[in-house]
Symmetry: C2
Subunit: 198 residues, 2 copies
Amino acid sequence: MSPREPVEARPHTGRRRNPAVRRAVLDCAADLLAGPDGMAVSIDAIARAAGVSKHTIYRWWPSKGAVLLEAMIERAQQEVTIPDTGALATDLEAFLADTFRAVEQVAHLLRGLMAEALRDTAAAEGMREFIAARRDELRGLLVRGLARGELPAETDLELTIDQIYGLMWYRLLIVRSPLTTETAVHLSRTVARPGTPP
Amino acid sequence: MSPREPVEARPHTGRRRNPAVRRAVLDCAADLLAGPDGMAVSIDAIARAAGVSKHTIYRWWPSKGAVLLEAMIERAQQEVTIPDTGALATDLEAFLADTFRAVEQVAHLLRGLMAEALRDTAAAEGMREFIAARRDELRGLLVRGLARGELPAETDLELTIDQIYGLMWYRLLIVRSPLTTETAVHLSRTVARPGTPP
DNA sequence: CTTTGACGGAACCAACAGTTTCGGCAATAA
DNA sequence: TTATTGCCGAAACTGTTGGTTCCGTCAAAG
């Protein structure tokens, strides 16, 4: 996924990859997906929109899913801060508000990616990694709250995480209702109710 | 969707529809989707498995999504009782346990249907109807609890429903962890905590 | 027996994912 | 400058899919 720098003996000769091509492909993929007919975006369409040959796309990405995944990761991973204010309620609220805002901006991308992941095993695998990473962030936040006694000691963390991200994906994919800051506030209140201190 | 009986002036002449064809198509569609390669089930494959011509399938269903939707509805709608024991906790628990059990049995169908709905507007519309009906059932259950003061008066019902079905779909589509009776118990406890009586 | 209409078979189309071939051109090492 | 490496576009190609169309057959009813 990450374009690691290969440790080559030879310092690299020949023509270099054109960064503008990469940008054009990722941007056009995202734009097309956000368009009126965003459900069905073909590689041909992306290539045409980006002024790039299909050949070039397949030189750098193994599949359509990989293109969408990279476009999404690039846009989503940029700014979701992981707060640590010392209180679970405020941490969670900030984290969710931030996440929801980021997610709303790549909603089309996520829907297209999910459609791909439901058919292509490779795309599904890439998704799973991304999702696992997001779960880890949220779990860390909850664990701190749990340690401070801000959650009942017997809280099932995985279930809680499932509930939070479940609501997010459900609204994103199925009912398509918006994820607002109010949702974040409301959700963090229903989830993180004070428990019995240890 | 429902095969309504047309009010024809002429009492119907000619050869009748073979019910065995319908059964074979729906059953084979479900079976293929549950198979090892369930992500990609083509109309051709369904026709081949059912010993039926593609022509016949398209005579009775407008699209692949319609076939899957009908197969799913037929299997899912059969036995999810809506309990009314007088107490929200037990109602919810029974309803969710029942729902989860039914859903687990058509999990493959639901995933295939969702994949279709993310691409095809018509399939998405069919899904929305089905989902709205399920939401109505759950809402009725919660409203009764709310009226009895078993939920805080200020409870946001839609959010609560989103949380419940959100968890369900999230596990079904994304993390693919099982929906057990324990999940139902656990979930109904975290959602339906006693509120301030009116 | 005639009409209506369900059904199978097969050919057909357009769109798509993905691959391959070719020829040109840009960057680097010599 | 020149040879080499390798990026890039154009376009043809394969195989699969959803969906349509035509034809011939066969079953049910009047």
